[in-house]
Symmetry: D3
Subunit: 118 residues, 6 copies
């Protein structure tokens, strides 16, 4: 049964395809830049995904948090390490981050339950 993280991933995929269909050169280039920003370079992809996660937490964007948690799980971050990153985001961003922390913890639990992670 699809959970909210699966729903998010499906919606994200559908709308990204719609955006590419629009074929706006600037928007397409931005999406490419965004992808490239997390690839191995002076910093490796694993570290960069964690940076993206904490940036998403302090900017309080649930969809961005979900995306980066899924990526962080894929590249091998462990729960304890992610909780430590959550804590940095919480201390930097303050109690206004707490609702997003609840969301993030739930997303991580859902990500660990999904078949592809078993």
């Amino acid at each position: 049964m699809p959970n909210r993280v699966d729903d998010f991933s499906a919606y994200r995929k559908k709308m990204n395809e719609r955006i590419f269909e629009i074929d706006h050169l600037g928007i397409k280039r931005f999406f490419n830049l965004d992808t490239q920003a997390y690839q191995d370079a002076a910093l490796d992809e694993k570290t960069k995904e964690l940076l993206g996660l904490v940036a998403s937490l302090v900017l309080r964007c649930n969809d961005c948090i979900d995306y980066h948690i899924l990526e962080c799980v894929k590249v091998g971050w462990k729960d304890e390490e992610l909780y430590d990153a959550f804590n940095v985001g919480l201390v930097v961003g303050g109690s206004i981050v707490i609702p997003h922390l609840r969301h993030a913890v739930e997303t991580l639990d859902l990500a660990r339950q999904s078949p592809e992670e078993s």
Copy 2:
């Protein structure tokens, strides 16, 4: 001759002392929590300082950027690695981050010139 990074560090030190003098229990505990958030735990200090730097960039706080760049230099991040982290902050936070990127690049240059880094 003191540069603006030295001035910032001196002002930060002076005002932190004034804040401790105020002796507000909640504020003191917050400062302790803030210090502890960057200490070695499931994630090491080095990684956490980089998280703090990117969080500061996307939240566009020059003083926070300066503080975390100085810490990142202390814990051994190289320029190329920091530029990669700057790039993640720029892509996540957008062109509104550019003035803070200019500030960050200048701060890093100043940090590398200072006697304690030579």
Copy 3:
């Protein structure tokens, strides 16, 4: 069948009526100021609605984005022009705006499908 944009407009109308019922002088004056800010003056309404849309995108407020897209469609902005405005919002606000870009593109598609636009 009502879509999410219709639901938003209905909820907006219902709650604005409830807010007027409260009859707080400051709040009512703020709503008037907000309406007047987009009326023809030195800049025309059409230009101002586009300003409101980009401001809503970079501040990442989906309800505000929906409202201004509906207004932008009413005053005659074409899709290609709105995509160009989306791009300015994306570049200024960064990848954190992407979930709101997905939302905006979907809202525009829904607005174009609704009877009043046919």
Copy 4:
């Protein structure tokens, strides 16, 4: 029949329990600091809850708004006083706050209807 405010309170309770289960020292301490910040001290709890509400409004966090409205009702703020606080949040934060004002007014109405307030 549970309304959205009851749903929020139930979700908040469930996820806070899950977060305590994670047992991250920094996160637990932050939650304690957050609780203590609103307790009677030089300022009383009643005033502090109103501060928390306006901070939540201008930072545009619906869950935080809901939480502080429920607390403000508990500590005895009257509707007219809360509308005045909403107005301060609206003027400071601008029209981007309006969707959150709609949400806040609805939450307050729901809070007044619930059995525990009758």
Copy 5:
């Protein structure tokens, strides 16, 4: 000898006069609304100034912090009470508020030293 708070007040006065000279109806009305938002109504002016101060802290606007600290001192808030309000702002807004806390503490010290407060 004028300190930075006096300089801020002088600059604020000069530029507000320049803005009134521009004579833009919407802008003038906004300034009026802003003034009225802090006047005695269901909530008294004293409480509202404290709300304005905490909103300014969590939104991290030094000029706004300075203005509301000066007003808070005028309406009779004591240092211990203001520190408690600072703490609420710090916990809600996180460590990113710390540079603004330093600024606020210094502004309060300067405000207490100025002749009109003696």
Copy 6:
């Protein structure tokens, strides 16, 4: 005699050159995307610069405001039109924008006084 707008432009030029020297592919591509976002396309450059200005106002970035005011003056926006755009930014972003409005009005006055605008 150079004023603060000239100083900003000189610092901006110097640091942009330093950033290009760093030669980070992602950062260079972002700067290109940023330049392209304001070029004639479905929307013309003149309209886009105004969008950039209002986005900068509501995101409260003085350097970005200065840059876009200089560009808006270059592409031919008149003072009355810019005041109208300032008003949209003020109403969307709230009183927290007022210090940036003061800055913007001063920058526009300085831009009109400079030799290249005479």
